[in-house]
Amino acid sequence: MSAIRQAQRLISFSFSPRSSGIRIYQCLSKRNFHRINSVTCSENVTSKFDDRPEFPGSKSEFVSKLEFIEPDNIKGIPVYRALGRNGNIIEDSEDPKLDSSTVLKMYKDMTLLNTMDRILYESQRQGRISFYMTNYGEEGTHIGSAAALDPRDLVFGQYREAGVLMWRGFTLDQFMDQCYGNVNDIGKGRQMPVHYGTKKLNFVTISSPLATQMPQAAGAAYALKRAKNGLCVICYFGEGAASEGDAHAAFNFAAVLDCPVIFFCRNNGYAISTPVKDQYRGDGIASRGVGYGMMTVRVDGNDVFAVYNAVKSAREIAVAQNRPVLIEAMTYRIGHHSTSDDSSAYRSVDEVSYWDKQDNPISRLRNYMINNGFWDEKMEKEWKLESRKMVMRSFADAETRKRPSPDEMFEDVYDVLPKHLENQLQEMKNHVKQYKENYPLEHHEKLT
């Protein structure tokens, strides 16, 4: 034993076996597991130091009875809610007390996003854009979280977080230009629709491979921590993406390397057609957080105030303590996965209708606003008309703009055009000029 103690001193191993933090953790875990024959916490942890495990890989105590931890006996992590379905604050202490203009912006952004979704979804059905993904049912997770962040906080998303951009001031024109891949698209028409990104609004460009952004977000948070600028990173992902290896890497790296990042999981019940029962066997995504040593909470994703409160607190923890926080927002994907998917092939219309009609983030916030007297039927009607007009105008404008010149295809592969790409660009130009009748040149800006 003395040798071990000496080794501990040498490697400055400072774990105190009687630390109160550990005791609290043990008490909590015992309560969670509902052990019937468990001894009371207070007496048993004061066992002799010599009888404690010295393994470097864990901090705990010995037990002399074989007992597996049965996950099914652990009560599910509760869902935090601030706003009831009728739009009433449930606990006064949990009222974020946002001023009416903020709440109004929340509502308008959620509904504007909804209107944009309807029009772009239809436009894809008519073959006017190639692809689209709606945000139906998840508007509350976007707006509630975005509102709680510093606008300079860096956002890494999956693809169903357009509301975050809307909150930050991405314009309808910018959304439409990206979906059309026209000459005004800041992404230069290279990616599929809904792969938005803007340096100006600190929203890192979306890419299709799932979960790749998660460990990247941890890395970015590490850089922000070193820059000591008081900012953090938020990283959104779906519960399906959380099954990727990159999610595991992200959680572990962020926790071990003390990264100020908020992992925000949108658990909407489905990954395309795959229901959560085929996705995981544990208590959702939140239950994994503690396993990685992360502060974790589960919230009602259809409650914009609950999301707001959780992200606001998570942000404080991340920035002040330089540690990651995991938020799992429970919600429901009301729309199809994408325009390439018909979700009636794997779930019932009734199920969808329940969430659309009975538990929708937009109607819940509307109830709150009506209860508090800063919204009414008339305003609702007027805003519906106005927002529709705005979206239609942007849509029509975006459709008339040409696509970028084919020259642009070769730019930005590297910071400067290397010689082999210069040659290939020239080759492409010569070819297209010679065979111009076979290429859709009329839709593009002129070749140089």
Binding site: T205, S207, P215, Q216, A249, N252, F253, Y414
Partner: protein, 375 residues
């Protein structure tokens, strides 16, 4: 990762004695290194200033030291880099620059590369280490779909150009399937990436500094067999060697030999043998950068010599020699007097006890020179 364990054990005196006692076993031919090349120390350019005697791994440390010194945002990370690295490339750097700049990561290659992408995307410099090139594949998605495409897909709003991935590669005598690989050809097929392989300590430091400061994500393969065996006088200060420039090491008139990394030294021996035994004058070229590669230097040489031999340790099918061969035959068709020959690893996994028969050693290359010259 058996070889890392061996290295750690051998650092302790007690273990060393144990190994010495076991010496008779070490005479097993499979346990000794079959080196088929001689390392010739090079002379640094006078323009790069004062020099210090360094082996390959020390020159890497020197480059990393320079980066940490000159760029306060820069960080080094990977598996076991904090105590100095399993190949000693990061020795002393944590103590000098702090544990927030030189740190261990959890054991996850996809995590290491993507963590680096994130750091670079947020505006800092990231130098990631993958312990062996053989273990870079879990990060393939992050390198290919993410790092390489970051700038392009965002319309140049975001990039991760400040990311460099260093990784030991190539044969080492006894590394078998997973401590010997040369995976450069996989990465040569990824637009947006730069792939660089140095041949010695002077090159390693200058090219690594260029990779780290380049505005594009780079993979830097370090031929691990050279870590200790290659020693020369390396400039102590800050200098860079340009990327995408091949180098003519030996001028010749009858034939062009192209290789990179350790294979350059094999080909140098071959050039000597060809001169002595066959009176053939070989022009030796180190490609150095695999992507984007220097077509002009190779083409210019082949226009002059009319014959080309390319050699690499990686398997022949889909190896980078195929790319060079097809490009050169279309650029230099009228100058070629013989088919372009490739001497490469066979299309098999890299074997343990058969390594001496697997490698494109100087005898295999010499035989190809004979064939080329008598075609």
């Amino acid at each position: 990762m058996a070889s890392c364990i061996l290295k750690r054990l051998s650092s302790s005196k007690k273990q060393l004695c144990l190994l010495l006692r076991l010496e008779p076993t070490a005479k097993n031919p499979a346990a000794t290194r079959h080196l088929s090349f001689t390392y010739q120390p090079e002379t640094a350019s006078a323009a790069h200033g004062e020099t210090t005697r360094m082996n390959f791994f020390q020159s890497i440390t020197s480059a990393l030291d320079t980066v940490l010194e000159t760029d306060p945002t820069s960080v080094l990370f990977g598996e076991d880099v904090a105590f100095g690295g399993v190949f000693r490339c990061t020795v002393g750097l944590k103590d000098k620059y702090g544990k927030d700049r030189v740190f261990n990561t959890p054991l996850s290659e996809q995590g290491i590369v993507s963590f680096g992408i994130g750091i670079a995307a947020a505006g800092a410099t990231a130098v990631a280490e993958i312990q062996f090139a053989d273990y870079i594949f879990p990060a393939f998605d992050q390198i290919h779909n993410e790092a390489a495409y970051f700038r392009y897909r965002s319309g140049n709003q975001f990039d991760c150009g400040a990311l460099t991935i260093r990784t030991p590669s190539g044969a080492v005598g006894h590394g078998a399937l997973y401590h010997s690989q040369s995976p450069e050809a996989y990465f040569a097929h990824i637009p947006g990436l730069k792939v660089v392989i140095p041949r010695g300590p002077i090159q390693a430091k200058g090219l690594l500094l260029s990779c780290i400061r380049d505005k594009n994500p780079c993979i830097f393969f370090e031929p691990k067999i050279l870590y200790r065996s290659a020693v020369e006088d390396v400039p102590s200060g800050d200098y860079m060697i340009p990327l995408s420039e091949a180098e003519v090491l030996v001028e010749g008139s009858d034939m062009t030999l192209v290789g990179w990394g350790t294979q350059v030294h094999v080909l140098r021996d071959v050039a000597l043998m060809a001169q002595e035994k066959l009176n053939i004058s070989c022009e030796l070229i180190d490609l150095k950068t695999i992507l984007p590669w220097d077509v002009d230097t190779i083409a210019k040489s082949v226009v002059k010599t009319g014959r080309l031999l390319i050699a690499h340790e990686a398997p022949i099918t889909g190896g980078f020699a195929a790319e060079i061969a097809s490009t050169i035959q279309s650029e230099c068709f009228l100058n070629l007097e013989a088919p372009i020959l490739r001497v490469c690893g066979y299309d098999i996994p890299f074997p343990h006890v058969f390594e001496p028969f697997y490698l494109p050693d100087k005898w295999r290359c010499f035989e190809a020179v004979k064939k080329l010259s008598s075609y």
